[in-house]
């Protein structure tokens, strides 16, 4: 079945006029093949390779005579990247600005990553921030927020949020739950930052201040907050200020909010997040409850619980459109 056959059918049904069908056929044959996403992906891969390699080079040759050359090159490169991006910059507005191609966006990203390597080096060699190591992360965070808003760049915004989190000693990388074993980082600071990011995301959506940034804020913020609350629920990190039940309530409230938001924004990533986290909470509470009652049929009860609860979840999702009154 090719578009050609579709056209024949549509023409036979009287949905497409014959001349139109001829135009479409011609367009199908002459339409260029888009390698847009392939080029973008390779460009990003190149940026990651280049900045990663340069970062390591810088530290390996830190005591050699050649390091000055490398620093000079990186400084020039960083300046060139920002200069290039500036040349293509569209004047600032609070709305999403129209793009002039994607290359300037990636060059800006490259500039920001190079700046990080450079700043780290300068701190190491000259100690410009002294022993206030926090400041060394806070400076790029501020700079990146400014750059993200000035150039209307969601990737740099992610980096700014990552740097801000890093300043607080938290990792916001979406998969950090699987890669980061420092549960120390999943503390009150993580929860606080997560909630702040959520609020900022909502603010930008409602106030129409860079509305398209809200996805980045809310996805990173909600994942962080839910992860931190779940960690404290499961008492991975014993903390005195948030009881497990307060954490459970918090997760459920946040999940409810995310489902509401997902419906609003038509972004079902949030439904996945909230479903998984709230199921963990409910299951945890159920197991605690079963543990307390000294029933000898625990295994049976648990398997029945999983069976019925999953069935319930599935029925909920099968009827989600009716339940949440989504029309799309």
């Amino acid at each position: 079945m090719s578009p050609d056959q579709f056209l024949n059918e549509l023409q036979a049904q009287g949905l497409v006029a014959p001349e139109q069908a001829a135009t479409i056929r011609k367009d199908e044959q002459t339409r260029p093949f888009s390698v847009h996403y392939e080029v973008r992906t390779l460009l990003y891969l190149g940026i990651v390779l280049l900045t990663g390699g340069l970062g390591i080079l810088l530290y390996q040759h830190i005591d050699e005579i050649g390091h000055g050359v490398i620093v000079a090159i990186i400084t020039l490169l960083t300046a060139a990247c920002f200069g290039y991006a500036e040349r293509y910059r569209v004047p600032f507005t609070w709305a999403e600005v129209p793009r002039k191609g994607f290359v300037p966006d990636y060059v800006l990203l490259l500039g920001c990553l190079l700046f990080l390597s450079l700043e780290g080096y300068v701190q190491y060699q000259y100690g410009i921030f002294g022993t206030r190591y926090g400041l060394a992360v806070f400076v790029p965070a501020v700079l990146f927020f400014w750059v993200a808003y000035l150039f209307d760049h969601r990737g740099v915004l992610s980096m700014a949020i990552t740097a801000l989190a890093s300043w607080l000693g938290v990792s916001v990388a979406p998969l950090s739950a699987f890669t980061d074993n420092h549960f120390r980082s999943l503390s009150g600071a993580a929860l606080g930052l997560g909630v702040v990011l959520l609020v900022v995301g909502l603010w930008s959506e409602y106030q129409n201040r860079k509305r398209h940034f809200s996805f980045t804020y809310i996805s990173l913020g909600s994942n962080l907050a839910l992860l931190a609350a779940t960690a404290s629920l499961l008492e991975v990190y014993p903390n005195s200020w948030l009881s497990p039940f307060a954490a459970a309530a918090l997760i459920l409230v946040m999940s409810g909010f995310l489902v509401w938001y997902a419906r609003r924004a038509h972004s079902y990533l949030f439904v996945l997040l909230s479903a998984v986290y709230s199921y963990i909470v409910v299951t945890y509470l159920f197991i605690r409850f079963v543990d307390r009652s000294t029933s000898h049929d625990e295994g049976l009860l648990l398997s029945l619980y999983f069976l019925l609860s999953c069935f319930g979840v599935l029925v909920f999702f099968l009827n989600i459109k009716k339940i949440l009154r989504i029309n799309s």
Partner: protein, 404 residues
């Protein structure tokens, strides 16, 4: 006799809608016409967004496992000790039968169409079926036949031989791409398992794999001509990717050399016969894929080619480290950036039938996901206690071997 589980019209209507939407975006159809086409091609199946599908998949798997567990616990009272085999087989049979009924019922009743739920049930049934087959063959075979479970044992041959028709039948009925992929893997394993029983098999294996992949590719091309192509499109595309990949892997130097080491008695990785041929294939195939992909406007060839170039680089660096990893990464990054910027400028006006402009204007979602990728991969340093660890960032994996 209709052996398709889902309504074949769904795939057809979906494809017509997609084509019409594309034409409307390109300004070839009016939005009124698009609305009329959409109305004439109603879709009443249930297949939500990818994230919801993942959610549904997870919960279905948990629920099904709980059902099997529940059954096992119920039965454990009814069977005497020493009859565990009977109990296990009973549970397997009940799970498979119950699962099949559930699957058919769910598709008929709730109009599920690769929605996560039906995929999960199907995989669950098939896993139990393969498990049951393996259990019967390995455990319940007469004592004299109880052989090792190595790849070349007769038992493994039998298992693969029995698994293949099950997977093929499931593919024909449910048109699931993962099942199709599993069937393809079984087919190759079966070939290898038979071939390796002969002394010369080890030498021939790479060429047989390449031949078998090429055969599969041409079969897929032939099947794509059928009128029910759209129903099987996901499967056939998956098979196309896999046959291209396995054709390359059959001739890849690293795979051949390390595979040989794995299969030999000594386990040592030594130079292989016809090494020059495998060097040539390792270097040549990815480039050929890229060229074909760009010339014939075939995205599958192109993407597979890009991935395999990376694998060939890995293969080369595994045996010859010409440059330290960090210098290689820096250079490769610089070359990639420069060439991609160059390509973008060159293709600003489409040339050779290629363009770097996006096919669809509405790429907000993809950019959103991209920002998550940046958050995951762009390494912002942690404030370190001692200034030494500060900075750097991790290498994107340009080389495999470097120690740093």
């Amino acid at each position: 006799m209709n052996w398709k589980a889902y309504n074949p019209n769904w795939a057809h209507r979906e494809a017509v809608r997609a084509a019409a939407t594309r034409w409307q975006k390109r300004g070839l159809l009016s939005s009124l016409q698009l609305a009329a086409i959409v109305a004439a091609h109603p879709l009443d199946y249930y297949r939500p967004n990818i994230f919801l599908r993942i959610t549904l998949f997870i919960f279905t798997i948990i629920g099904l496992s709980a059902a099997s567990g529940f059954m096992a616990l119920l039965f454990s009272g009814g069977f005497h000790s020493g009859t565990e085999e009977v109990m296990l087989v009973t549970i397997a049979v009940l799970t498979i039968a119950g699962g099949l009924v559930l699957l058919e019922f769910a598709i008929k009743d709730s109009h599920l169409y690769h929605s996560g739920i039906d995929n999960a049930i199907l995989y669950y049934i098939l896993s139990w079926t393969v498990f049951l087959l393996a259990y019967i063959i390995y455990e319940l075979a007469p004592i004299g036949y109880r052989a090792s479970s190595s790849l070349t044992s007769p038992n493994t041959n039998t298992l693969l031989l029995l698994t293949l028709p099950v997977l093929l039948a499931a593919t024909v009925r449910y048109a699931d791409r993962l099942v199709a992929a599993a069937a393809y893997a079984t087919y190759l394993l079966l070939l290898a398992s038979v071939l390796l029983r002969f002394p010369i098999g080890r030498l021939l294996l790479p060429f047989v794999v390449m031949l078998a992949s090429a055969a599969a590719y041409f079969l897929v091309k032939k099947l794509a001509q059928r009128p029910d192509y759209l129903y099987y499109k996901p499967c056939l595309q998956a098979l196309k990717v896999l046959s291209l990949v396995t054709f390359y892997l059959g001739g890849n130097y690293w795979v051949v050399r390390e595979g040989n080491a794995l299969l030999s008695d000594t386990g040592l990785s030594t130079q292989v016969p016809f090494a020059w041929l495998f060097y040539f294939l390792t270097a040549g195939i990815p480039i050929a894929y890229l060229v074909v992909g760009l010339r014939r406007h075939d995205r599958i060839w192109l993407l597979v080619g890009i991935l395999l170039v990376a694998f060939s680089v890995f293969t080369f660096r595994h045996y010859y480290s010409v440059l330290p990893a960090e210098i290689a990464a820096t250079l490769a990054g610089a070359v990639l950036i420069a060439s991609m910027i160059g390509a973008t400028r060159y293709l600003r006006t489409p040339r050779h039938g290629l363009t770097t402009a996006a096919d669809d204007e509405d790429d907000t979602r993809k950019i959103n996901l991209e920002s998550l990728i940046v958050a995951q991969t762009a390494n912002v340093p942690q404030p370190a206690e001692a200034g030494f660890e500060f900075g750097g960032g991790r290498s994107g994996g340009g080389g495999a071997e470097g120690t740093y």
